[in-house]
């Protein structure tokens, strides 16, 4: 049986549009140093390092070996994982399995990106098939716009419904000193912002960000050593289903009304493992990878927070605001900071802080159960459930 695993140290850089004052290794180092200090550790205490980003955003191959000056992996095991937008959550899951395996007791997970160093859309387009997709595809913004169009068509949701999500995320970010965007937007501001790719407007999208995040994962045998309360990983799951950018639309139709199968199936797996039946009631806070506003409607439905088509009503009800039944993205989420390789890991970091009661101005009271997700690839999903109480057994 595997070890139970907790997050015991959190480090992040301030998320910024551009960090020309540091190179990539130095940016990574900032987050690593913060995480080690937070966990009261020295570099020598780390048993292994897991790192992730997307190669073509910085144009650096073999980032695991390149990063050593900053990651602290000198003469240690380091492994790179990359799965696109889900990279950060993938890294968190890999760190979890490193510790759960019993082979490593203290593992550093690092996610980072310097989006300022390239053309983000240009780099993302290279994720898609050079024959079928690449000549036409226009990157994440336009890809998400396809989803938004379909969502509105199927549910009757409006652009204004989505704007409420954008406003909530930016309002929450005002409480987070690490967030990239600190702007107070109104629904009108979002509605009046220019179209990037119809129906997606500037105000609906995440920014391009430079930033890094590092977490320390520790085995149940050692959690007493650390100054922070452990934030336990209760369950993790992912689904990466498709190979071509138009496949997800197919599967929705074929799987008899599955809305977003990758997210639904992964969520179902972690809910079953932990025994969650009514997510909205039972989960105290959610840090979700919502790369744009419409995701804040549709993905809530896929996660079982409301019935299909119920996203707009849920968001307008205030249930996902600070003080609501289940605040979503108290950090401001992806729409306020998106250093892609760091983004999924930041969701886990924020859940850890919430569980530990250390989220300061963005703290939700008495968090016992927190949900983190990663989104990316071709509508792929990673899902992690975290909690305050040590689980009865390991059930990754």
């Amino acid at each position: 049986m595997g070890k139970r695993v907790a997050v015991v140290g959190v480090g992040m850089t301030r998320q910024r549009s551009s960090r020309p004052d540091v190179n990539g290794q130095e940016l990574i180092h900032e987050a690593v140093r913060a995480a080690l200090a937070d966990a009261g550790m020295k570099r020598d205490d780390i048993d292994a390092v897991v790192i992730g980003n997307m190669d073509h955003f910085e144009g650096i191959n073999y980032v695991d070996t390149w990063s050593v000056d900053g990651s602290g992996a000198l003469m240690k095991p380091i492994m790179k994982l990359t799965t696109g937008g889900t990279t950060g959550s993938t890294v968190a899951m890999a760190a979890y399995y490193h510790v759960a395996s019993g082979l490593f007791d203290r593992v550093l997970a690092i996610g980072w990106e310097k989006n300022s160093e390239s053309d983000t859309t240009g780099a993302i387009i290279t994720a898609f098939d050079p024959f079928w997709d690449r000549p036409i595809f226009a990157g994440a913004v336009a890809g998400l716009a396809l989803e938004a169009t379909q969502y509105m068509h199927l549910t009757g949701a409006t652009e204004e419904d989505a704007a409420y999500v954008a406003v909530r995320e930016r309002r929450h970010a005002l409480n987070n000193p690490f967030a990239h965007l600190h702007i107070n937007l109104t629904v009108e501001d979002v509605m009046n912002s220019p179209y990037l790719s119809w129906p997606v407007k500037m105000g609906d999208m995440c920014p391009r960000t430079d930033g890094a995040c590092a977490l320390v994962f520790a085995s149940e045998d050692l959690v007493e050593e650390f100054p922070n309360q452990p934030a336990w990983i209760l369950a993790v799951a992912d689904r990466h289903l498709w190979a071509y950018t138009s496949d997800p639309y197919v599967n929705q139709a074929l799987e008899n009304g599955w809305w977003f199968p990758a997210l639904e199936w992964a969520a179902r797996e972690v809910y079953d493992k932990v025994g969650v039946r009514e997510p909205l009631k039972e989960i105290d806070v959610a840090e979700l990878y919502l790369p744009y506003s419409f995701a804040g409607l549709r993905y809530m439905e896929s996660l079982g927070f409301c019935p299909r088509g119920g996203g707009p009503e849920l968001v307008r009800s205030g249930a996902t605001d600070m003080g609501g039944e289940c605040p979503v993205n108290p950090s401001g989420g992806v729409m306020s900071s998106n250093a892609i390789g760091a983004t999924g890991l930041l969701r886990v970091a924020e859940c850890a802080l919430q569980i530990q009661g250390r989220a300061e101005d963005r703290q939700v009271p008495d968090v016992r159960l927190a949900l983190a997700t990663g989104f990316g690839g071709c509508f792929w999903s990673d899902v992690l459930l975290m909690g305050r109480e040590k689980p009865e057994r390991s059930r990754g």
């Binding site: 913060a34 859309t121 387009i125 396809l146 169009t149």
Partner: protein, 168 residues
């Protein structure tokens, strides 16, 4: 949490202080991607016959367009070639209006353009392609479209210039 103070107020400092950046300039990574046997069949049919083909899964019956060797859900090898129509239906669409670099050229891609996820008649999976319309008000989910082929064809998706909206 131990937050890092670096990065605070940097924006202001940058104006005063030079920070060097190194540029990749004209550097590029060239590739010779094989379309594979299945992709080559699809593309040569486009090039030579202005025709779309797919492959049918012997297990679930799905017709994959463009063709591929494996049906993911069934994990079965696909062999049966199936002709599909050059007409179909818009599943979803967008109109791109923001500027970005085309990674195939290193230059800005011309915008605006409309593109769609299209279900060809007889296919169960969809393709992406350009539409001949840039006004989102004039495009509808469910609209009928037909492929318009290029005069000069070389065996690529761009052998189809775009899909034309069929107006009633």
């Amino acid at each position: 949490m131990a937050g890092e103070k670096n990065g605070e107020g940097k924006e202001a400092k940058e104006e005063r202080k030079e920070l060097i950046k190194l540029e990749s300039g004209e550097a590029e990574q060239p590739f010779r991607w094989s379309a594979g046997t299945y992709g080559s069949r699809f593309l040569s049919e486009l090039r030579d016959n202005c025709r779309f083909v797919g492959v049918r899964c012997p297990c679930c019956g799905r017709v994959y367009v463009p063709p591929r060797r494996v049906c993911g859900p069934c994990f079965r090898e696909l062999t049966e070639l199936v002709p599909v129509s050059d007409e179909g239906e818009v599943i979803t669409f967008t109109v791109v209006s923001f500027g970005f670099v085309d990674p195939s050229t290193g230059r800005q891609k011309p915008v605006p353009y409309g593109y769609a996820v299209i279900k060809l008649d007889g296919a169960d999976t969809y393709i992406l392609h350009y539409l001949d319309e840039t006004d989102p008000g004039k495009i509808k989910v469910g609209a009928r479209v037909k492929a318009v082929f290029a005069e000069e064809r070389s065996g690529s998706m761009l052998d189809v210039k775009h899909f034309a909206l069929l107006r009633a």
